[in-house]
Homo-oligomer: 365 residues x 2
Amino acid sequence: MQSLQLDLGDRSYAIHIGSKLISRGDLITPLLEGKQILIVTNTTVGPIYLETLKAGLLESRADLEIEICILPDGEAYKDIAHLEKIWNRLLEAGFNRKATLLALGGGVIGDMSGFAAACYQRGVNFIQLPTTLLSQVDSSVGGKTGVNHPLGKNMLGAFWQPRLVLADTSSLQTLPKRELAAGMAEVIKYGLLGDSELLLWLETHIQGLMQGDEQLLTEAIARSCQCKATIVAEDEREAGQRALLNLGHTFGHAIETEMGYGQWLHGEAVAAGMWLAADLSRRLGWLEASDCERVEKLLKAAQLPVRPPKEMTVDQFLKHMAVDKKNIDGQLRLVLLEHLGKAKLHSLTELEELKACLNSALGKA
Amino acid sequence: MQSLQLDLGDRSYAIHIGSKLISRGDLITPLLEGKQILIVTNTTVGPIYLETLKAGLLESRADLEIEICILPDGEAYKDIAHLEKIWNRLLEAGFNRKATLLALGGGVIGDMSGFAAACYQRGVNFIQLPTTLLSQVDSSVGGKTGVNHPLGKNMLGAFWQPRLVLADTSSLQTLPKRELAAGMAEVIKYGLLGDSELLLWLETHIQGLMQGDEQLLTEAIARSCQCKATIVAEDEREAGQRALLNLGHTFGHAIETEMGYGQWLHGEAVAAGMWLAADLSRRLGWLEASDCERVEKLLKAAQLPVRPPKEMTVDQFLKHMAVDKKNIDGQLRLVLLEHLGKAKLHSLTELEELKACLNSALGKA
């Protein structure tokens, strides 16, 4: 087990990464305030791990009141209606503000459980048990929670930190290859935005990682979490450099929103978005063509898309990008690359280069 | 204009109390981060004050983008469905995270706007413009926001502080007498729970207050806000003594929930709840019968109910009180009175006295 700490004063917490952590109720029960637990999971992950998790918890503390909320699986259900199902479950069970939510699943379950916890009785504790690579390296760490709205992804939410993150690497062995690739997009993102050594390491080990080598995966997760923890500790509420973690996401959110949540996996949309960010950075004179080729090669080796869906139009991109949370008073702001391993937040004063980049990527120029 | 400050570090804010403050856009515009403003109001208050508020804002800063969201009036609409209407309005207008919400109305509008602001893009600023006595002395100050759920009042929400509170005392001149009385219940609450001098002052001036004397009302609002600000500054997230502000509310919420939100005004339910709290305190040996008579006399002079609705049963009270946010692991906790002017949080280890108190008040014993 590798462990690291996210330092946020009295809201600091540990991130543990290792094999079979879902059974380690002893890591969870010391952090409970009361004895009421709601496990939130989905129809895919629940049947595989629920019994192991429950047994571990009860072995560590026999008097727990454990309730379960099972949601349908997928980004398409990350909405207010399903958030209400979690709240209904908590209220039907008569749970109080000492209750703890356990999020057992991928990023959708983690984001929704965290937001549900943030708002239930004005805030109860929650713990992340991420079971996908994407959620282990990204969404479970840092306290961003939320749901989607038909007019924009993650438009409703809260900053609400978990009390603990347990990343069980064994769960990656049963993860579909497409989801492993989607998670790898976020790992590559850390290399591109802030850690050129990680980028080199990934270029060396991408084959082994994609074959599911657990030791390499543990290393990749720990390095990714460390990169994220450092940034979040300095800028919890995204007043500044935390926005750099959104590399590829402004384009990616446009793809997800336009195609309908769940058609493109989040990581796939981010992969295409990172390539667009690299290409736009080249057009602005910061990257070389060879840098873009390196990005493209690594993404392809991770079995990720490197172009946006051909059926989308430039206008659709611009429409969705106009409501991005990073924008200020109508000014479009994008995370771009100064060089490989260093991102920067850039205000686009005019849209010509962006339109050329999108037209080219969509095969329309 | 009287002014005071709520001290919460970098989330501190001013509370101004005085005549015609709704027109003072110059007090608001220096606090804006961007130029986007959504005014949230209701069908009763909107027609009276919207134009004045807008004109004052635009006079102070001409380039503002002002959008309006008008909700139906009443506690019955303080729910997730109407919260979504606010979010839809923000997203349709393409508002970003520098936008500011202005809550123009009573406690329902303030609580909902604050919660909407807390969750929109994970948190935007909001400003309170309370137009009822109840919201001026209580709900607009302290950052408790939220909506009701069919299974419990204020069960969903956030701690989210406004950037400013402007309590316009002129708005009380058009307030229905029943709502003035409901607000006076919260003023009396501050006297009972922590300020025996305020209690004496109220006993002296209750007739003038109920006749709408603006000077007396300004004094009552300022003293109430000061009492609340002191408590909130010491315990923002209700880890301890902030719970004392819930005097009468555990009983009151049971009345509101059982009767259907909006049948009994919040202040009316709290008035009956404070009498129940006083009577239970007497049964536990802390108050004298003469103390309870003083409470009853003052509440009656403020034209408030002093008994719960006769159609309710003891079991209904117990059911609703069991899900109160102050409870811990099934143990019922109530704010009771050690003496007039001093409240305490009490864990009920057995229910006999409570049942006797309720049976008697409901005319069933």
